[in-house]
């Protein structure tokens, strides 16, 4: 079988349905959030080391950054 196109290789374009503006009084551009909010709505591209489980690594991040809640996307375990 020839290789197929992975999601990160797919090309797409933005289709406009209607014109609109956004009111600067509400919300906040993601890159302009305060550092506290950057953390509250943040995600880390972590390079996991060998040894600890994904779950343990997430728990360490929780402790290091003094967070109440952390999650991880896609376990990276011995059985993967």
């Amino acid at each position: 079988m020839p290789r197929s196109v992975a999601p990160w290789e797919m090309k797409h374009e933005l289709l406009v349905k209607a014109k609109g503006e956004t009111d600067p009084r509400f919300g906040c551009r993601p890159e302009e959030r305060s550092t506290e909010n950057r953390m509250r709505y943040g995600v880390i591209n972590l390079d996991k080391q060998a040894g600890p489980s994904s779950h343990e690594v997430a728990a360490w991040v929780k402790r290091i950054l003094k967070q109440e809640q952390v999650g991880h996307g896609g376990t990276l375990e011995a059985t993967a």
Binding site: A6, G20, T35
Partner: protein, 260 residues
């Protein structure tokens, strides 16, 4: 097992779902159980660039029923004796240990996975990944010296996790209704990615690029462009806190008056 592990903080945990289903890329060392002709091996690897059937292993956190996963590409990199290095791009939930075992079965000699490193999880790539040490250091730097530059570089906005999910941008007036769990209707849509497909996951965003919700599209991008009314996407997981944007839907003021 090492490599890219996206970790979400606080309310960003709501976007985890988008990452679980996103594609992954790994670099893997596979150990063959007998000497094998390299050209034959390359051909067998090529044959695995397809939909594969896998039953989750005994020690797994999911139901052990046969399931299918797509291998987008499987590139042979190099071989050293019986050790084979390859790069594989696959759907989320593909077991690489199982893949190695199956390659060994097809070759006839048997094989097992020796080492695995994840080089991509959805939009997150190895080249941009950070270590726990970097993270700990920049957090202390922020807390003690009020220097936030490094920490802000290491912690990305949760919207970055939605990088590969097809997007729908909506009017300010539609935002709070979705935050309260309402489905997205056609008049609220301003623009959308051409790869929005009926039945698949989409990210609903504001014009400021803030994540509002993860939803399931009920129509394709072209269909949505022609729709004047009706539901465009069913809200699955709300990301944005309520009342970030004003309540502007019909009857919202009446509701407020009755309460007061």
């Amino acid at each position: 097992m090492t490599g890219v592990l996206p970790v979400t903080l606080g309310d960003a945990t709501r976007v985890v779902q988008a990452l679980l289903y996103s594609g992954k890329e790994y670099v893997c060392v596979m150990k063959l159980h007998a000497d094998t002709n390299i050209e034959h091996l390359k051909k067998v690897l090529c044959d695995f660039q397809d939909v594969v059937y896998q039953r989750p292993p005994l020690r797994a956190s999911v139901k052990r029923q046969l399931r299918t996963r797509r291998i987008y590409y499987l590139d042979f990199l190099e071989a050293d004796g019986r050790k084979v290095l390859f790069r594989v791009g696959c759907e989320g939930g593909t077991y690489i240990r199982k893949l190695c075992f199956d390659v060994g079965e097809v070759l006839g000699c048997g094989a097992h996975m020796q080492e695995l490193r994840r080089t991509r999880a959805g939009p997150f790539v190895e080249a941009e990944s950070v270590t726990l040490h970097d993270l700990a250091y920049s957090f202390i730097e922020w807390q003690e010296n009020k220097n936030e530059d490094n920490l802000r570089r290491l912690i990305q906005p949760m919207e970055d996790a939605l990088g590969l999910v097809p997007k729908i941008y909506v009017r300010d007036s539609a935002v709070d209704a979705v935050c309260h769990g309402a489905d997205l209707t056609a008049p609220g849509v301003l623009s959308l990615d051409s790869n929005v497909k009926a039945g698949s996951m989409v990210a609903v965003l504001t014009l400021k690029n803030e994540g509002v919700a993860l939803s399931k599209a009920l129509a394709s991008a072209q269909q949505v462009l022609d729709m004047e009314h009706g539901i465009v996407a069913k809200t699955m997981r709300v990301i944005m806190p309520r009342s970030t944007y004003p309540k502007l839907w019909k009857g919202a003021n009446k509701q407020n008056e009755q309460k007061s």
